[in-house]
Amino acid sequence: MSGFMGHEPNGRPGWPKTAREWLFTVDHKVIGVWYLIGSLASFAVAGLAATLMRIELGSVGPDITSDGNIYNLWLTMHGAVMILGFQIPALLGFVANYAVPIMVGAKDMAFPRVNAFSVWLLWSGILIALANLVIPDHFNGMWTGYPPYSTSDAAGNTALYTMVVVVLGMSSVFGAVNLACTVAFMRCKGMGWFQMPLTVWTVFTANIIQLIFVPVLAASVILLSLDKYLGFGFYNPETGGDVLLYQNLFWFYSHPAVYVILLPFMGIMFEIFSVSAKNMVFSYKSAVYAILAFIPAGGDVWVHHAFVAGLPDWLRVLMSFTTLLISLPFGLLMLSLVGTLYKGAIRYSGPMMWALGAWMILIFGALTGIPNALSAIDYGISDSYVIMSHFHYVMAVSGSMATFAGIFYWFPKLTGRICNETMTKLSAIGFFIGMNTVMGPLYFAGIAGMPRRYMDYQQFADNAVIVGAQHWSTIGLYITFLSVLLMVVTWIHGMLKGEKSSQNPWGSQSLEWTSTALIAGQGNFPTPVEVAEDWHPYRYIDNPKPTFQPAPASAGH
């Protein structure tokens, strides 16, 4: 299969040669790289904000700042940029754009120019968000932006917040339409719905969720600015608005947004687990149905964010139950994950170490989610470090570990080289230990009563559990910080000096590794790729090889 025009011997697609081509590309692979750069830049900014906050919280009293507005700026930037700038673009941008079209054997995305538009919007959004760091009236109303605080002058520039959410929301929506269409209609010949890799399924489902719910978020956030600057009063009780409504609208999107992040990173874990164990994903079909079940099950759980927000009691009890139901599809996915290891032949490669770390943390994160769904328990732990620790375990730590696992996994495809395995594993172990030291003690601080979003905890100064947890958490951050530095060094080293990769270093059966005849620029495959009826991305025994259709007679024009 070698010898086609433009492909490199190691299976890496060729890159554009000029800056102009880089900038104005409509090629999904280059756009995927743009998404990756954007999301890693966001990770750096938001991570630094987290570092500053963690240092501030290391002991009682001011450590590096005593100005609440500055601290709240860091906090707002950390939340908003991590979620909107790092996680969603990394998973629904980089993975969805770089890997998914090749995984389904498509020539490109369904609408390449729309795709370019999405990534431009993403960069615009990130730049507007970063402007928040330099403007005098920075927005400090948190990534949630609850009114009436966010419609008051104290919150700073609400328009910027609205703008960021709307621009990034548009980027997501266009990206989502594009990706959903690509998966639905651009699959190569012979690839049925149940022959798609789970990464494709999860990204597809996540994008459907995005499409349904993002416009709701964008609309409710636009109303915030209309309220503040034009005095409409949609959320102003004085003029008949309802403060609580915003919270409902916001979480109606933002809880499904958790699954938008969760599903793709679980998809990456499936990919790496299956390849490392050289084993069929356990109960593949039930995993697919479980993934799809997240759309309806994810749509009726948002009220658990408002258990203590003055809703009628019967609604709390009812929604407590619907929230618990999410454990069914999630449990099936976890079952499929661990089942994939059964009778496997597990090789502990670098990406596998990252994926294993992500998966262990996910167990803890998922289990600590169950008490939060019980309305009565929530009265004691609402808005405390228990909640903060839980969602950091699920989304932040597990999510970023799986995302980095994905970057290490597709690294040979991106650069043609492979990262140093020891360094990869060391950084994974460091990150795992570091983040557990950051978030583990904080769970106990939460049980002891520590609320979220505090810049100081003078009132708990004589509470040994809280003070101790904060102290250890800050120490954990230093470990994490060093391991992230090591990870970046590993990447740079891998990119420049890494060992040359073979075409299929992990032994995957998925098209992005097996159909190595990728061409430079658009098109991906010289002629359309085709898979047999019994081909399966997770079948490692007697899997029929994908073939290329013969070049059509008219190809010379």
């Binding site: 609408f111 703008m163 209609f185 416009p215 005095g231 409504l245």
Partner: protein
Amino acid sequence: MQLSLTSSIRTRLRLVPAMACLCAVLGAGVFLYPGQAQASYKSTMMAPNSEIDPEIFRIDEGHFLGGKVDGNYVLEDASGNTFKLGDMFGKPLILLLSYFTCDGACSVINRTLANTLKGVDRWKIGKDYNVLTVSFDRHDTPATMRVFMHKMGYDQLPQGWRMATMRNKKDIDRLAGSIGFRFFWSPADRIFLHPMVYAVLSPKGWITRYLYTGKADTYDVKLAITKAMGGEISPVNIIDYVVAACHSYNYKDGKYKLNIPLFVMFGGLVLGVTLMVGGFMLAKRKRKRLDKGMVTI
């Protein structure tokens, strides 16, 4: 790999997203110009129609809403029987304070409410909610009450509507005080000055809403009763709950109005689904043309 479009057109088309984003950023710049925030949560109530400073009668709703009315006050009805205020609880209760020798405002308040309630089809007086008129004039007797009822146009009050007097000045002040209702005796005019307002209480006696005569219409009263049922609403009334949830109370106008963001949200949902369906149709067409070789990517 030949491409059907010439490279210059392609390049120009590639610039389109970039240009669009530039416009978006410039637009953002204009929008980001800091403006004046409008957020004030002190409700500014309109006054009842009287000549003295209306501020005196203003009910500080923020302070009194959610307060509990004691059910232990002893009241006396037209036939001289005593009962407790708490006996009226268990259903939403509309509580009016009036005095029975009043010539104008009081009978207007009661009569208007009676007419309004006739229009409330969904909830039946006595079955779904109660009404109670209490006199704040300790000189009122069952006799003055009957005269007042007559003036109102009733010989017999509807089932579920009771009128009562209280003889204990201390209790009257305490009850009026607990709902923030202020009244003054004007020796010059020989009348009581008081606001034209009534309170809607929850089945447990918590004040859930104040409504103003002349502002609240049938729809407002219906919604106020529905909302007063609050958590105790039964599953068969789920539609009423949904309707109530679509409305919120406007303190400025004293009326309920539609919760617009809720509808904007539905608009958002429809937009998302439309985009999805539209995208699918376009992509399907494109795939067909791709397969036929009519276009390239």
